[in-house]
């Protein structure tokens, strides 16, 4: 049903313009270019071209790479920083883009993420400009293709300080260099998110087509202006457990209020509208969906995370009403939805309405839905009630020693169609500082990786550490992570969990969207539009 991205890329013919790259000063990259241009030069079989390239020069390239990196380091900052000053934009906010990639401060970032094309062309770097890092990314691509030439796949590299994870998705190679001590599995999942965020902007079909057309294409042309969205995603990944748990965090709300909001959305519809989503403070208030669309597919938490990030990462949405194509990769990686995005409470901009349509031309009719929603909400004074909604404190559970928890239920009604959710109280003292919050999240991440290990999964972990005691527990009904004060006894912890589970049961209507409402935008269930999509 969502439309195919045909038109989007036609005007950006990849061959139309040879985007001149900054002059490469490292011999390794020149070598790499020779290699990639060989593979480009239209040999009948691309595969054999690749193989040939490696057989002759693969070994040489790698040793060259190793050597030139040494030289580069020996040269110090003088030489390597020059491309920075030449290409760095003089205007704009201070950004990680302009960092000196030879400085210690650059090396000390907790997590680097790089995206490059198979030809070794930089697409994105979280810190430092892609130009300054082109040789580093060239090395990454050389490692990937070198291992590939041995009929094998590179997965990761470990040092005492870093975990480097490589992953390839279609024509894109994504690399995470992390000192966070997260598991490879988690880092790989994060890279998949980065890939999907790129797909959400371009669609997978376009990316594939572009690189089929021209292996050397500089994808940054199409991603210009989206760096912030990827930056925002990576900050979210580090600071928000939603992505770790693959679940959506709802803002706690009296079920009566949530129901009436849902009803407002349910009533304000127009043909081809498929999802109406209400967000407050970057958390979900409610989501209603068109019946027929979700019959065979559902909105995955990951798609919603990408959407929330897109909105949260850019203040551009705070101005006026936005109409933009967006692809939801888990729903369908090759098609666009058209998103209407508008804040309902300017200038505070905390309550945001997102309406997703499959019709590119539906802006005015969808904007009309917003008007109706706005009116209805005004009548009910809903904005005021929403403004009062906030996260809860763990003290409300009434269990001493319990400092924090994350609870993800599996026993929701209509489970297979339900959006996976989790609930979690605010992080309070001693986890109020940025640093301590990150530390607690890291502890949760550790337990998550052990409990969900691919080869050795566990049912329960009880971890007594110096500054806290943690318990992680997975059953068929829920997944639970709890954090206690360090001196809690095992008996106390077990009792606390019994109490906590009882409390959640009691509060579940407030904490979760129990029955996501549905609507039908077409009087006759649109069998025809369905067949259009396939």
């Amino acid at each position: 049903m969502p439309s195919h991205p045909e038109g989007i890329l036609e005007s950006s013919d990849p061959t139309s313009e040879e985007n001149p790259r900054t002059q490469d000063h490292q011999p390794d990259l020149q070598k790499l270019h020779i290699q990639s241009s060989e593979t480009d030069s239209g040999k009948a079989s691309q595969d054999s071209a690749l193989d040939n390239g490696h057989d002759d020069s693969g070994e040489f390239v790698v040793t060259m790479l190793a050597r030139s990196k040494v030289e580069e380091q020996g040269m110090g900052t003088k030489d390597a920083s020059s491309p920075l000053s030449e290409t760095g934009t003089p205007l704009g906010p201070p950004s990680h883009r302009n960092e000196d990639v030879t400085a210690d401060s650059w090396r000390q970032h907790r997590k680097h993420v790089f995206v490059l094309s198979e030809a070794g062309k930089p697409i994105y770097s979280r810190y430092g400009s892609e130009e300054a890092l082109s040789s580093t990314m060239g090395v990454m691509m050389a490692l990937v293709s070198f291992v590939q030439s041995g009929d094998n796949t590179i997965r990761s590299v470990y040092s005492d300080e870093h975990t480097v994870v490589f992953t390839q998705r279609g024509p894109l190679v994504l690399v995470s260099v992390s000192s966070s001590r997260q598991s490879e599995q988690q880092l790989r999942q994060e890279l998949l998110y980065v890939y999907n965020q790129i797909v959400s902007m371009l669609t997978q079909a376009s990316i594939t087509r572009i690189f089929e057309h021209k292996k050397n294409y500089d994808l940054r042309r199409l991603l210009a202006g989206s760096e912030k969205i990827l930056d925002g995603l990576l900050n979210l990944v580090d600071s928000d457990p939603s992505i770790l748990l693959s679940a959506v965090h709802c803002l706690p709300l009296a079920s009566s209020l949530r129901d009436s909001l849902s009803q407002i959305l349910q009533k304000s519809i127009t043909p081809n509208l498929v999802f109406s989503i209400l967000i407050a403070k970057n958390q979900l208030l409610t989501i209603v969906q068109e019946k027929t669309v979700i019959e065979d597919a559902r909105l995955e938490p990951s798609d919603l995370h990408l959407l929330l990030n897109l909105i949260g990462a850019s203040s551009a949405f705070q101005a006026g009403e936005i109409w933009t194509p967006i692809c939801l990769p888990s729903f369908n990686p090759d098609c666009y939805f058209y998103a209407y995005i508008s804040y309902l409470d300017p200038p505070e901009c905390t309550v945001c309405l997102v309406l997703l349509s499959t019709d590119k031309e539906a802006f005015y009719s969808v904007a009309e839905c917003k008007r109706k929603i706005e009116e209805a909400m005004q009548t009910q004074n809903a904005l005021n009630s929403i403004a009062k909604a906030h996260l809860y404190s763990v003290s409300q559970v009434g269990v001493s020693d319990l400092r924090h928890f994350m609870y993800k239920p599996f026993d929701v009604p209509d489970n297979h169609r339900q959006l996976t959710q989790f609930t979690s109280p605010e992080m309070e003292a001693p986890y109020s500082s940025e640093e301590e919050r990150m530390r607690l999240l890291d502890l949760y991440r550790d337990m998550h990786s052990r409990i969900h290990s691919t080869s050795r999964p566990l049912k329960l972990i009880y971890h007594v550490a110096e500054r806290e005691t943690l318990l992680a527990w997975v059953t068929s009904k829920f997944e639970l992570y709890t954090c206690f004060s360090p001196l809690v006894t095992k008996t106390c912890a077990i009792n606390a969990i019994t109490k906590l589970l009882r409390w959640i049961k009691k509060e579940e209507d407030r904490l979760f969207i129990r029955y996501p409402p549905k609507y039908s935008t077409t009087p006759n269930p649109s069998k025809s539009s369905k067949s259009d999509a396939h």
Binding site: T63, A66, V70, R155, H162, V177, Y462, H463
Partner: protein, 480 residues
């Protein structure tokens, strides 16, 4: 029906392959810095029959990986490379000397019908880096024990001598690596200590003192019983690798003849008389043999400072074994060996039977052994003391454990978690098989317990481990 048949067929013929050594190489990038000279970097490469360019490529990849990680932290380069098919572990024991071990991931081979080649699934997460990293470090330590450092060999005889030494040592040594049975004990590389009452311990100490006094050539002594250490004059790190050599290589080679009864005492005239059961495990097999050679293995200790080269004399009487270490500059004569034999032989025989008696008394006191509900591994980082009821036997050929390999890997995981922080910690986990695994770390000591009480809850498990700590470890682990 059609669907079921092939699945059953493949199910029955699935083949499981354990991890195995794919290659092992040692290189120094400084030895062939120029293009076209890459081969000169390679000092050792196993398997030897690999084609030259292939060797150069594989070494080149390691260099590139190491350099690449230096971009992000110049002082902490790569330790391992994970690929779909194998795991490569890197170790730089001496500056610019790199050792690399490539281990093939365990895999499952599933046959396909219609004569198609079988599908191979690599189990990429089964290998624990810390275990194989330790095995690689052990390879170096073992080499160094018998050959000294790489750079000493290079200084003495250039690349040629170094290559010769490496080939001579590793050709044999690599065959003794059994990668499928490596586990947490390899990470600890600990020393099993023989539990002993004070009186017997003092007897042993005075024995050592007496011998060192009479045989002034003896620089260091180590005393073992039942493959467990009682007394050592060596530095801990040197003793650790010597202990490994003795218990996994030298002793097992001699126990088999003993068990087969072919090993009669050296002095048949004294058979039946518990006076002299002593014999040399290194050096002359038979002192009476006029052609006997008085050559002992040489070992290198204190390589960090005084760099001593020593003769290693291992002398054994019944279950007691003593290592005497003598400066390698001294030529050991027949006279010396005879003197040692006549002095040590009777005393050691007597000591061995004393220890044995004492040991049996202690066992009787502690009551008949019944199969406990738990198995454990204990390790103390301060004195390298190690104790395991999980491993039934550890020899050159195989390490037999009494628990499922997955549980052993969970122990490895917990150990990795402990290694991250210096603080005291406790981790209790319940595996998918409902086994409980408990790890405790307190003041440089680590204890791992596996409990086979599937229906127990967390509190009962805790009580059980508490009891164990009280009886076996004097309540060292007092958390909670």
């Amino acid at each position: 029906m059609l669907m079921i048949r092939p699945r059953m067929a493949s199910g029955t013929q699935e083949k499981q392959y354990t991890p195995s050594l794919l290659s092992f190489f040692i290189y120094n990038p400084k030895f062939g810095p120029r293009e076209g000279e890459e081969e000169k970097k390679i000092l050792f490469y196993h398997p030897i029959e690999i084609e030259k360019n292939e060797k150069i490529r594989n070494v080149g990849l390691c260099e590139a990986i190491v350099q690449f990680t230096r971009t992000f932290c110049p002082t902490k380069p790569a330790k391992s490379l994970h690929t779909q098919k194998n795991r490569q572990v890197f170790h730089e024991p001496e500056e610019n000397y790199w050792m690399v071990m490539v281990v093939r991931n365990p895999m499952v081979e599933k046959p396909n019908k219609d004569g198609k080649p079988p599908t191979v699934e690599y189990q990429e997460d089964e290998i624990i880096d810390s275990v194989y990293g330790s095995v690689l470090k052990q390879c170096y330590s073992m080499y160094k024990l018998f050959n000294g450092t790489f750079s000493r060999a290079f200084d003495a005889g250039g690349v040629e001598l170094l290559i010769q030494k490496l080939e001579k040592f590793f050709y044999r040594y690599l065959q003794t690596l059994h990668l499928q049975s490596c586990d947490l004990l390899d990470v600890f590389g600990g020393i099993a200590f023989f539990p002993l009452d004070k009186m017997t311990y003092l007897k042993i100490q005075s024995f050592v003192n007496r011998v060192e006094e009479s045989l002034s050539l003896v620089k260091y002594t180590a005393f073992l019983y039942n493959d467990q250490l009682i007394w050592s004059g060596l530095e801990q790190e040197d003793m650790r690798i010597l202990f490994k050599y003795l218990t996994t290589s030298l002793f097992p080679r001699h126990t088999e003849p003993e068990l087969a009864g072919r090993d009669s005492p050296l002095r048949p005239e004294l058979t039946g008389n518990l006076l002299h059961y002593g014999r040399f495990l290194t050096g002359p097999a038979n002192l009476k043999d006029p052609d006997a050679k008085f050559r002992f293995p040489r070992i290198f200790v204190n390589t960090e400072d005084s760099y001593e080269e020593l003769h290693l004399i291992v002398y054994k009487a019944m279950s007691a074994a003593v290592c005497f270490m003598v400066n390698a500059a001294v030529d050991l004569s027949r006279e010396f060996c005879e003197q040692l034999d006549s002095l040590v032989g009777p005393q050691l025989t007597l000591l061995a039977s004393d220890i044995c008696e004492q040991y049996n008394i202690n066992r009787r006191i502690s009551g008949p052994e019944k199969e406990p509900q738990f198995k454990f591994i204990y390790f103390n980082h301060m004195n390298l003391a190690e104790k395991s009821t999980i491993h039934m036997r550890k020899t050159t050929s195989v390490s037999l454990t009494s628990v499922h390999p997955d549980l052993m890997k969970i122990l490895g995981d917990i150990n990795c978690d402990f290694a991250r922080v210096d603080e005291d910690e406790e981790i209790i986990v319940k595996a998918m098989t409902d086994y409980w695994v408990v790890g405790k770390k307190s003041d440089q000591r680590e204890l791992y317990v596996i409990l086979n009480q599937k229906n127990a809850n967390l509190i009962e498990v805790n009580e059980e481990v508490k009891r164990l700590c009280a009886t076996q470890f004097n309540n060292i682990f007092f958390l909670d």
